[in-house]
């Protein structure tokens, strides 16, 4: 028998191998829908950035640039002192981090390294409930509890509204985020490393601080950066507790009233200021939005670079 002589081609097999037209069409439709969803987010982001830029440019055109450097942020009076808001935002964020980073990290170490499985099962959801408290509630808490009980006792004569109370309120909001993200990264550290450490006669604290935390650095840095973004972007707590809804004097004193970028935007958008005063007040909203966007964008990029660098080290 000749090789290949018995090889008879079955034409129906060839057709079957090609698949049905309907299925090919379905695949194409699915691909298009998914692409559309992806494109939508890109387009929306692009539109937001464009409108921010457009509004910001209008605002800069309308105003006298000198008003960007005044004594304070009083949009109704046409005083748009930027450093007032930037200082307010940095102050509130700084205070929030001073509270949230140590407390968050220590809770993460406790949950990941010390707590028994049972305790963790109870405590972690509670921590996450804290993250779910609406920020306006926390703002109210900062105003009616933190301010009188803590701040005014610390420095008698402080107004009910002050940046310190607002910063601490934002800090409380940020704790669960930092604790949860860094706990996840600590728990992801292989158990084998802990065993190696214990096997060398290390105690629990030594193992936590010298092995687990360094191995989880990238996650912890990510947690802190997320925390910063959260704190900078937080609006309601500051709007309620920091005072200065109509405007604020430039200050770096945490016992003063103050205004952050976000809180200034909120008060511009909620009406009272929109009608009153110069029309450019409303336009300044876009400018602030753009500033906020650039700040968080740069922060996230810095964070990314740092996370990548610590990863490369090992």
């Amino acid at each position: 028998m000749q090789p290949g002589a018995s090889l008879r081609r079955d034409p129906s097999l060839a057709t079957a191998l090609r698949g049905t037209a309907a299925r090919h069409r379905r695949e194409r439709v699915i691909g298009a829908v998914l692409l559309g969803a992806a494109l939508l987010t890109v387009v929306v982001s692009a539109l937001i950035i464009l409108s921010l830029f457009g509004g910001a440019v209008d605002f800069i055109r309308q105003i006298d640039l000198g008003t960007l450097f005044a004594d304070g942020w009083y949009p109704r009076r046409g005083e748009f002192d930027l450093k007032t808001l930037v200082a307010g935002s940095l102050l509130v964020t700084g205070i929030a981090l001073l509270l949230a980073v140590p407390v968050g990290l220590l809770s993460a170490i406790y949950l990941s390294e010390y707590a028994s499985r049972r305790v963790r099962r109870i405590v972690k959801p509670i921590l996450e409930v804290l993250a779910g408290i609406p920020s306006v509630v926390l703002g109210f808490f900062a105003l009616t509890f933190i301010s009188p009980v803590f701040v005014q006792r610390l420095n008698p004569g402080t107004s009910d509204f002050n940046l310190l109370a607002a910063g601490l309120g934002v800090g409380i909001l940020t704790i669960p985020l930092i604790a949860s993200v860094s706990e996840d990264s600590m728990r992801a550290v292989p158990a084998a490393l802990r065993e190696a450490s214990y096997g060398l006669g290390a105690r629990r604290l030594t193992t936590s601080v010298k092995i687990v935390v360094p191995a989880a650095t990238s996650g912890i840095v990510a947690a802190v950066i997320l925390g910063i973004s959260r704190a900078i972007g937080e609006t309601m707590v500051v709007a309620v507790a920091a005072g200065g809804s109509g405007g604020a004097q430039f200050t770096v004193d945490p016992f003063h009233q103050g205004q952050t970028i976000t809180a200034a935007m909120a008060s511009l958008a909620t009406g009272t200021d929109r009608v009153a005063g110069a029309t450019s007040a409303f336009q300044s909203l876009f400018f602030l939005g753009l500033m906020l966007f650039i700040m968080t964008f740069v922060l996230n990029q810095l964070g990314d670079i740092f996370v990548r660098r610590t990863r490369q080290q090992y």
Partner: protein, 306 residues
């Protein structure tokens, strides 16, 4: 070989609950034991160890429970000093559990319970006031999978001495530990590199160097070569026979050739009907493999089960 390692460091003394007396004349003690080991005819038919030599560690009626499950039961044997004792047996016979009981690593697993005694220089390591941390400083461990810290080679080895408050020339300890682990020549020019950049076999030798650096008396090895290729395995075995001059080694292995090649004494364990591990036979390695007392041992070492 630098002599620094055989000298006791100050960290060993003073802080522990364990008596430091047997540890203090370590240099002399090690030297003495070395002579004894050298004088011992390994091929002797007697399973019992030299009665003059104090066992490095002595397990008495040890049972370990995970919750209500008993993993090993009524284990009694002593471990001769400056020799390699291997634990062999089928999966589930409790070899690793038993090994980890020696330096109280099982304490780290919630729900474990221990019965019996582990005697170390006459002290029960499970006595109430004994601190497991002090136990592990004297009885080191090398694990199945190489687990170097994500730190530099230098910092991996220096970790143990540092956390134990070592005051002395750290560079020397790192170098001598790496030399003893037969790794120095390969890494001496890249001590600042990450330990994770090494090959598997090198990583395991790094882990051995790391364990040596705290100057334990006993080193426990839980299948140290099972994740390595044959050449690295051989290197580890050669290293072990070099190390037993200064240390007592207990090794868990699934590899019977390894037990036969590398160890002086062998403990054969099996799983009972209650699924608890127990000792079938413990002898000099040559006897276990050539002249086992139990049929079960013979079946196992000849590969008929397990």
């Amino acid at each position: 070989m630098p002599s620094t390692l055989t000298e006791p460091t100050d960290r060993v003394d003073g802080s522990g609950n364990l008596p430091t007396a047997p540890r203090t004349p370590a240099t002399a003690g090690v030297a003495l034991r070395m002579e004894r080991t050298a004088a011992q005819p390994l091929a002797g038919g007697d399973a019992d160890t030299d009665p003059a030599a104090e066992p490095a560690v002595d397990l008495r009626d040890v049972s370990v429970y995970y919750g209500s499950f008993r993993a090993v039961k009524n284990i009694t044997f002593d471990v001769p000093p400056n020799a390699i004792t291997s634990l062999i047996g089928p999966s589930g016979s409790g070899k690793s559990t038993l090994l980890r009981a020696v330096n109280r690593m099982n304490d780290l697993i919630p729900g474990t319970r221990f019965e019996g005694e582990v005697l170390y220089h006459g002290e029960n390591l499970y006595a109430e006031q004994v601190d497991p941390v002090e136990v592990r400083r004297r009885i080191g461990m090398v694990f199945q999978k190489p687990n170097p810290f994500p730190k530099s080679i230098y910092d991996n080895v220096a970790f143990g001495p540092r956390i134990n408050g070592f005051r002395g020339k750290l560079d020397e300890v790192v170098e001598s530990s790496l030399r003893r682990a037969a790794l120095w020549d390969e890494v001496k020019d890249k001590l600042k590199q990450s330990g994770l950049a090494l090959s598997g076999g090198q990583q395991q030798r790094l882990c051995i160097a790391r364990a040596i650096a705290v100057q334990p008396e006993i080193i426990l090895m839980d299948e140290p070569a099972s994740a390595l290729d044959p050449r690295s395995t051989l290197q580890i075995e050669e290293l072990m026979s070099e190390l037993k001059k200064n240390y007592t080694i207990i090794i868990v292995t699934h590899n019977m050739q390894q037990a036969a090649r590398a160890s002086d004494y062998t403990v054969f364990m099996n799983m009972g009907e209650d699924r608890a591990g127990y000792i079938v036979e413990r002898s000099r390695t040559t006897d276990i493999f050539t002249n086992p007392k139990h049929q079960m041992t013979e079946d196992y070492v000849s590969g008929r089960f397990g």
